[in-house]
């Protein structure tokens, strides 16, 4: 089962809304691709303001929330990564 990217983006933002980091997020970009074995994956790039000031544990919690919620809707593995929006 695969969902459309707009739905997944909405789900990812909803997961972010439950975290303390929502105000730091500038955008979440989904990029479908293949992994090294040829399986479909989703690269999920979370662009955040002042990324280097954020606690590692908080980022991991956000990453896990997005990963879990996206996985409920889509069979492709969501590889969540963070980049600095500044």
């Amino acid at each position: 089962m695969q969902a459309d990217l707009q739905t997944l983006k909405r789900i990812a933002f909803a997961a972010a809304d439950r975290s303390a980091l929502r105000s730091r997020i500038e955008d979440i970009v989904f990029d479908p691709g293949k992994d090294e074995w040829g399986s479909d994956i989703l690269r999920v790039r979370v662009r955040m303001k002042r990324l280097d000031e954020i606690d590692d544990g908080e980022l991991v919690d956000l990453k896990r929330a997005i990963r879990d919620d996206v996985s409920d809707l889509d069979e492709r593995f969501p590889a969540v990564r963070f980049s600095d929006a500044d």
Partner: protein, 186 residues
């Protein structure tokens, strides 16, 4: 003596270490080496777990465990853990992974195993980009997150020690040796 996986995790963390007055981004080489090393820490942890559960833990069996470890592959572990993802396990393995005391199929893998699987797939994907795709941006935070996640997943796995947990780990270890395939799946 620290285990090999812990040695690798400490190496991955040392690659990300900053001196007190160091500013600016870390060199990409250190970030990418750290990600790759963290993945291998988890890979070797899983090899050790599988071999201990299938061969046994006695020191005299270490040579046999190392021989068996050589038969486990990156792709086989990926295929195994892919079957644990989602709220329900893949139907092809649900009956095999069901508790030995129960009849029928298990619905979901225990949290400690699902989480280890998700972290493994994530670390493997990141490791591939770190080693082979220089166009894929990877930040220092990405590298630190993977270390945190791998440490947490290993700790959760080790802490799960009820009889039902040990039963699941043993069945999963056998499945890993079979590269996640019980029947003639392609």
């Amino acid at each position: 003596m620290a285990s090999y996986d812990l040695d690798l995790l400490e190496t991955a963390e040392r690659l990300l270490h900053r001196e007190s007055r160091q500013r600016g981004p870390l060199p990409q080489a250190r970030i990418r080496r750290s990600i790759s090393t963290t993945y291998y820490a988890l890979f070797h942890f899983i090899l050790d777990e599988v071999c201990r559960r299938v061969i046994g833990t006695h020191n005299s069996l270490s040579r046999r465990r190392r021989i068996l470890a050589r038969t486990l592959s990156h792709r086989g572990l990926r295929r195994t853990f892919d079957k644990l993802r989602g709220r329900a396990m893949d139907a092809s393995v649900a009956e095999f992974l069901a508790p030995s005391s129960a009849s029928g199929a298990a619905s979901a893998a225990p949290d400690f195993a699902r989480n280890l699987g998700a972290v493994f797939v994530d670390a493997q994907s990141s490791r591939h980009d770190a080693d082979y795709d220089l166009n894929e941006p990877l930040s220092e935070k990405d590298a630190r997150d993977i270390v945190v996640e791998v440490r947490g997943a290993i700790a959760d796995w080790r802490a799960a020690d009820r009889e039902s947990d040990r039963d699941f780990k043993q069945a999963l270890s056998v499945l890993a040796l079979l590269e996640g395939q019980l029947r003639g799946e392609s």
